[in-house]
């Protein structure tokens, strides 16, 4: 019998960990932004074809899906959401840390540096 893989994040959302949310808040404070959100998107390019986009912005755009987690608003363009549904965004620091890290269940293949993927 084949078991479906357990999902930790429902497929109708994406999850940002507490640590990642805290880093976003810190970066926004460093930039002197009172009102901010985290834009998470996907654009064409990179070794595997699709590249993650992260940006701290002042607000959502009309076509963005807005998800509130750990006090941070996450904005995902609807066109990019199909590639990101179920993703967990974490942050790893320290000497071996990679910064923001995506764990994307839609990614069939990821490039060596982890910034691009294919589905």
């Amino acid at each position: 019998m084949t078991m479906a893989p357990e999902r930790t994040v429902p497929i109708n959302t994406i999850k940002i960990t507490e640590k990642a949310a805290s880093k976003v808040t810190q970066f926004a404070a460093d930039k002197g932004m009172d009102k901010f959100g985290l834009k998470v998107a996907v654009k064409g390019g990179g070794c595997s074809g699709l590249t993650y986009v992260l940006d701290i912005v002042e607000g959502a755009e009309t076509d963005d899906k807005v998800i509130l987690q750990h006090g941070v608003e996450v904005y995902v363009p609807k066109k990019a959401f199909v590639f990101l549904a179920g993703t967990v965004l974490d942050f790893s620091d320290g000497l071996n840390g990679k910064g923001f890290e995506f764990s994307n269940p839609n990614a069939a293949k990821t490039c060596g540096c982890g910034t691009s993927f294919s589905v």
Partner: protein
């Protein structure tokens, strides 16, 4: 017993492309308009050549590869105007290029429009091509540039391409104007070349052809497109695979010209004894001046040495 009548390559056609100006009318080729503020940046992120430095009025040929490092298409990017690109490919399959770029267009502000049906393409090939077109159309052509000129309220685009190893200029116009423009170019000294003689020239010069030497069966290094890879440009689709193939010397085949006493079939397998040695990708049906036939093949590394003898379906071929 069946006898075969051989047809020689037309020396006047070959002289034109080798030392004058040959005119090739494409029966079908891909012509796509790519517009929008993100169009050039998107293509720069997707393809093998650095494109951000291609300013308005300039052009550059590039390759789109898959995430497995195989060639999807090779095309000329002509930066015609603000947020306005013209993409020209040798492939008759415009849908392939459009769907590949469209797949990667997610948050980008860029649009694609297929103009392959409504437009025609003429290529001028040979060392005097620039003089011929400058004389015929009274325009000045720079290297790797796109020039737009108006003729009877119609915009005609002239794009020079230095990536082919010979002088090469493409003219894109509305299909209804192709006869008049061809006639003007022929009056100025161009010689119209038929498909068989153009293929013969292309094979002789080892110029890779669409869906022959390059395509989704080959990576750009083995397909003779090494010059279309900018190694220091950063990421593009397939870059990791292509860089690894190069760094670890893993490219196992390369495009080679073969000579034989009789024509050989495209797609036929090359062997050396019982060992596989490659595959024939293009074959000329025309006989050379010295009675030989030419082909292009993706030949395995062990057989690259000139004068290596191989066998294809009982015919001996020699690596040139």
């Amino acid at each position: 017993m069946q006898s075969r009548t051989s047809i020689k390559a037309d020396q006047s056609h070959l002289d034109a492309v080798n030392s004058g100006c040959g005119l090739i009318r494409w029966s079908s080729a891909t012509v796509v308009e790519h517009s929008g503020p993100d169009a050039l940046d998107l293509l720069n992120r997707l393809t093998t050549k650095e494109l951000l430095s291609v300013g308005i009025g300039s052009s550059r040929r590039t390759a789109l590869t898959s995430d497995r490092g195989r060639v999807v298409d090779v095309f000329l990017v002509a930066h015609r105007g603000e947020n306005d690109l013209l993409l020209i490919s040798d492939s008759p399959n415009s849908e392939r290029l459009i769907s590949a770029i469209d797949y990667y267009t997610i948050i980008e502000d860029a649009e694609l429009k297929d103009c392959s049906e409504s437009n025609s393409r003429i290529s001028l090939v040979g060392p005097t091509s620039r003089e011929v077109i400058e004389s015929a159309l009274e325009i000045v052509i720079e290297s790797d540039a796109v020039t737009t000129f108006e003729l009877c309220d119609e915009s005609i685009f002239v794009v020079s391409d230095t990536s082919r190893g010979t002088e090469w200029i493409d003219v894109v116009c509305e299909t209804g104007s192709v006869e008049n423009i061809s006639a003007a170019l022929i009056s100025a000294g161009a010689v119209e070349i038929d498909q068989a003689n153009f293929d013969h020239f292309r094979i002789d010069r080892a110029i890779p052809g669409s869906d022959r030497e390059y395509g989704e069966h080959a990576n750009p290094i083995e397909a003779g497109l090494l010059h279309l890879i900018d190694w220091d440009k950063g990421c593009y689709v397939g870059q990791e695979v292509i860089a690894r193939l190069d760094a670890y010397d893993k490219v196992q085949r390369n495009v080679k010209v073969l000579r034989s006493a009789s024509p050989i079939a495209e797609g036929a397998k090359l062997v050396s004894g019982t060992k596989p040695a490659g595959i024939v990708t293009s074959s000329s049906a025309l006989e050379t001046e010295n009675g030989e036939y030419l082909s292009l093949a993706l030949v395995r590394k062990a057989f690259f040495e000139p004068e290596t003898e191989l066998d294809v379906e009982g015919v001996t071929v020699i690596v040139r």
